[in-house]
C-alpha cells in the first residue's frame, strides 16, 4: 500500500488524558476526492482525533502524514500550512466583522501596510460567487443566517488550505434546504479533488453525501468501509456495538404491576428543539430513551425538567395540570435531573462533596432554613455510604473525584430531595465499571421503590434490562415507543436506523 494513496493519514494514534485512553491505536486514511464520514457516540474519540488532525492536540503515540510525508502539527496554523482546513459546529468566525474580512483575516491584501479594502471585497465577491453566495462582502457576517456563515467558513478553510477539509457537525443547526445547499457545495469541492472529512449525527446525511465511513467506539477503531455495501442498521449496530442477530435480551416482564400515572406529557414540545411528543409515565417504571447523539434526546430531557421552557403542549403531574417553565418549578413537583455534561452543568467543582450533595435539597428549603453542618454531614454521609461514594473526605472538592463518583454525588443530590421523578441523561457514560454497576443497581432499586425514571442511554444492553418501555428519538422527534417483547437491542437499532420514507436528506 503506497502511503501517497491518502491526502491525510493517521497511523496508530494514541491519546491519553490522565488515566483515560481517549484514542487507542486508531488508524484513519482520507483520500483525495472523497467524502469520508467519521461516526461515533460521545466519548468515542471523534473530537479527539479531529483535534489531533488539526494540530489542537498532540498525539501520545502514532504519526500523522499529509500527502505521504510525516508532519508535526503543533497548532491550527501549521495544519493550515499543510493544507488542512477545519469548520466547526459553532461557526468559529467573527460575527462582528465583514464577510470579506472573515474570508481574508490575516491574509488581507495590503499596500504600504494598509489593507486594500476594495480589492479584498472584489476578491471576496468572486470567491463567494463560486460558493453560490450572492451577498455583499462588506456586510457584517453576524447579519447573515447560520447557513451562510457556515458556507463562508468553508470558503475560508478551502481558500486558505485547499487540500483537506474537515467539517465538524456543520449541519447541526441547519434546516433541510440549507443542508441540501451545503451538500451541493461539498459535492462540488469533492469533484475538484478535495479530501473531506464529514462528522455528523444524522445518518440520513451520511448516506446522502459520504463515500466511506470510519466508525469509532470507546476510543477504538471499529471499522472503515465503503458505504455502498452497508445499511443504516449496519452503521448503528457498529456505533452502538450491538450484534443484532444474536441479541436476545428482552425487557422487564409485564407481570409486575404498574403504578398509577404520575406524569402525562401531551403534545409537549419546543420549536427548533424537540417536536411535540406524547408520553405517559407511571410510578415505578423506567422509560428508556434511545437515539443517537443529536436525535433530540437531551433536548427532550431538558424541556421535561424546565431547563428549557416548552412552547407547545401541556403536562399533568398526578392528574393535575402543571406549568414547568423553570427548573425550580420541576423541583417543586419532585423532579430531579442529572445532565449529560457533568462538568459543565452538574458538579460545582470547587465545592465539597457534602455541599454538592445537599445543594438541591437546600435550594428547595430556601435561604433561611439552612441545614447546619451536622445535618449536612449526616445526609452526605448517608448517601456516601448507600451510593458507595469513594471520597477520602466528604469535605474534599468534588472536582478531585473520579467521574463515576461525581455521578453518584449528583444522583445523591437528587435522592436527598426525596424525588418522585428522575431524569438521567447518560448516567453511565465515561465512568468506571464499578460505578457503572452501582448506578444501574440504583436505577433498579429506585424503580422498585416506586419512583418514575426516564433514562437516556446509548448502552442498549443496559437500557433493555431495566426499562419497561423504550422511547426512540430520531431527528428531534419521538419516532417509536417500544414495549413488551419489542424491548430488545435489535428492534431498537432498527428503530434508530430506520429512515423516513421518501427522498433522503
Amino acid at each position: 500500500m503506497s502511503s501517497s494513496e491518502y491526502a491525510l493519514e493517521a497511523r496508530g494514534i494514541v491519546k491519553i488524558f490522565g488515566n483515560h485512553v481517549a484514542l487507542d491505536a486508531v488508524d484513519f486514511g482520507l483520500r483525495a476526492g472523497e467524502v469520508h464520514a467519521l461516526l461515533g457516540e460521545n466519548g468515542a474519540g471523534k473530537s479527539t482525533l479531529i483535534k489531533i488532525l488539526t494540530g489542537a492536540y498532540q498525539p501520545d503515540g502514532g504519526t500523522v502524514l499529509a500527502a505521504g510525508a510525516q508532519v508535526h502539527l503543533d497548532n491550527p496554523q501549521q495544519a493550515q500550512a499543510h493544507g488542512i482546513g477545519t469548520v466547526y459546529q459553532e461557526v468559529n468566525l467573527l460575527p462582528n466583522r465583514s464577510v470579506a474580512e472573515n474570508l481574508f483575516l490575516g491574509h488581507q491584501p495590503t499596500r504600504f501596510g494598509l489593507v486594500r479594502r476594495r480589492k479584498m471585497e472584489a476578491d471576496a465577491r468572486l470567491i463567494l460567487k463560486r460558493y453560490g453566495l450572492d451577498i455583499d462582502p462588506s456586510s457584517e457576517l453576524g447579519a447573515h443566517s447560520v447557513a451562510v456563515q457556515q458556507i463562508v467558513a468553508i470558503a475560508r478553510a478551502v481558500e486558505l488550505s485547499g487540500k483537506v477539509l474537515i467539517l465538524d457537525e456543520p449541519t447541526a443547526s441547519l434546516d433541510r434546504n440549507e443542508v441540501e445547499r451545503l451538500f451541493e457545495i461539498i459535492r462540488d469541492l469533492k469533484a475538484h479533488g478535495l479530501a473531506i472529512v464529514f462528522i455528523t449525527h444524522f445518518l440520513d446525511q451520511v448516506f446522502a453525501i459520504a463515500d466511506r465511513v470510519t466508525i469509532l467506539r470507546n476510543g477504538k477503531l471499529v471499522e472503515t468501509r465503503a458505504l455502498d455495501d452497508m445499511t443504516r442498521t449496519d452503521v448503528v449496530r457498529l456505533m452502538l456495538g450491538k450484534d443484532v442477530a444474536f441479541s436476545g435480551a428482552t425487557g422487564v416482564e409485564d407481570a409486575r404491576p404498574m403504578g398509577e400515572v404520575l406524569l402525562d406529557f401531551a403534545n409537549y414540545g419546543r420549536k427548533r428543539s424537540v417536536h411535540p411528543f406524547n408520553l405517559t409515565i407511571h410510578k415505578g417504571e423506567v422509560i428508556g430513551v434511545a437515539g443517537l447523539l443529536g436525535s433530540g434526546r437531551t433536548e427532550m430531557a431538558r424541556i421535561m425538567f424546565g431547563a428549557d421552557a416548552a412552547d407547545e403542549g401541556t403536562v399533568k403531574v398526578a392528574g393535575k395540570p402543571a406549568s414547568i417553565a423553570r427548573p425550580t418549578d420541576a423541583i417543586g413537583h419532585g423532579f430531579g435531573f442529572c445532565p449529560e455534561d457533568r462538568k459543565a452543568e452538574g458538579i460545582f467543582g470547587d465545592l465539597s462533596v457534602r455541599e454538592n450533595i445537599i445543594i438541591a435539597l437546600q435550594g428547595k428549603l430556601g435561604w433561611f432554613s439552612a441545614l447546619n453542618r451536622d445535618e449536612q454531614m449526616e445526609i452526605a454521609g448517608r448517601f456516601g455510604e448507600s451510593m458507595d461514594i469513594r471520597a477520602a473526605s466528604l469535605d474534599m472538592p468534588i472536582k478531585l473525584l473520579s467521574g463515576g463518583n461525581q455521578q453518584k454525588v449528583i444522583l445523591s443530590r437528587w435522592l436527598a430531595t426525596d424525588p418522585a421523578f428522575l431524569i438521567l441523561d447518560e448516567p453511565t457514560r465515561g465512568i468506571d465499571v464499578g460505578a457503572h454497576a452501582e448506578i444501574v443497581r440504583t436505577i433498579n432499586r429506585l424503580r422498585d421503590e416506586g419512583l418514575a425514571l426516564v433514562v437516556i442511554s446509548s448502552e442498549l444492553d443496559e437500557v433493555v434490562a431495566y426499562s419497561s418501555r423504550i422511547v426512540v428519538m430520531r431527528d428531534r422527534e419521538m419516532v417509536a415507543e417500544l414495549s413488551g417483547e419489542n424491548i430488545n437491542p435489535g428492534v431498537i437499532v432498527q428503530a434508530i436506523a430506520n429512515h423516513r420514507e421518501g427522498p433522503s436528506t
Partner: protein, 332 residues
Amino acid sequence: MMRRILTRLANPQLLALVGVLLVNWLLFPNFFRITWQDGRLFGSLIDVLNRGAPVAILAIGMVGVIATKGVDLSVGAVMAMAGAVAATMVVAGYPAPVAVAAALAVGLVCGLWNGFLVAVLDIQPIVATLVLMVAGRGIAQLITEGFIVTFTDPLLIFIGTGSFLGLPMAAVIALVLMILVTLLVRRTAIGLFIEAVGVNRAAASLAGIRSRMLLFLVYGLSGLCAAVAGLIVAGDIRGADANNAGLWLELDAILAVVIGGTSLLGGRFSVPLAVVGALIIQAMNTGILVSGFPPEFNLIVKAALIFLVLIIQSPLASRIVPVRTSAREARS
C-alpha cells in the same frame, strides 16, 4: 478542637498580616505599644484597626459581589454620596438618626440599582457599576453644592471618631458588620448559594437556585456597606468632602478581597479573610508612615502586592505548584 482552631489560624492571610506587623515592629520598635488614655486605647496597632475600618467595611460588601463573579466599582462614589446626604441633612436641621438612616437608604438604593443592571438587564458588572462610579461623585457634589459640608453633630462625629470599650468606633462597627454578615451568609444558605452561582451558574440553575434575588442581595449589601464606610469617613473629618471621600477606595476593597483569597473569577469566599486583607493593606500603609517613608510608597507597594497575588492565583502558577485556595482551607 484546639487543633482545629490552630489550623484555622494558620492560613496565609493571617500569617501575612503577622509578617507585616513584625516588619513594622522592626522598623518602629514602639509599634506594638498600646496606651490607655482618656478612656480609650492608643497606639499604632489601634491605628491600623481604626484606619483600616472603611476599607474593611467595603470589603465585607465587596466579597459577596466578587464571589458571584461580579465586581462593584461604585462603592467609593457611594461613600461620597452617603456622607454628603448625612452631612447636608444634619446641617439642615434633621435629627442625626434620620440623617444616618437616609444615608444608609441611599447606599442601599445605589446597590439595588447596580443589582438591577446586573441581574435584570444582564449587563456586565464592571460596566454596570461604572455608571455610578462616574455619576455618583457628581451627585454627591450636587448634594453638597460643591462645598465641604462641615457639621458638629455629636452622633455623626461619634460614628467617625468615638470609642466603644476603649476601641475606636470605626473598628467596632467593622467588627460588628463582619460578624453580622458572616452570620448572614453562613448561618443561612445564602453563602453556599453565592458560591454555587459563582462556581457554576448553569449547574446552580439546574439545581434550583435562583440567582437573580441573590445578585440583588449582594449588590444591595455592597451599597449598604459603602454607605456605612461613607458615614465613618465623614464623621472622621467632621464633614462631607464629595470630591475626595472614598476616592479609589473601591480599588483597595477589591484588593482586600483578592488578598483574602477570593478569586476574581468567583466561587469560594470568606468575609473574615477579606477583612484580614484590608488590615494587611492598612498595616503596610501605617508601616510606611511610621517608618518615615513618604506615603506615596504605599501605592508602589500596593502595586507590587497586586502582582504578587495575581501571580500566586494565576493558572500558570497552579500548573507549576498546585496551590490550594486559602478560602477553602479556612472554612474546612
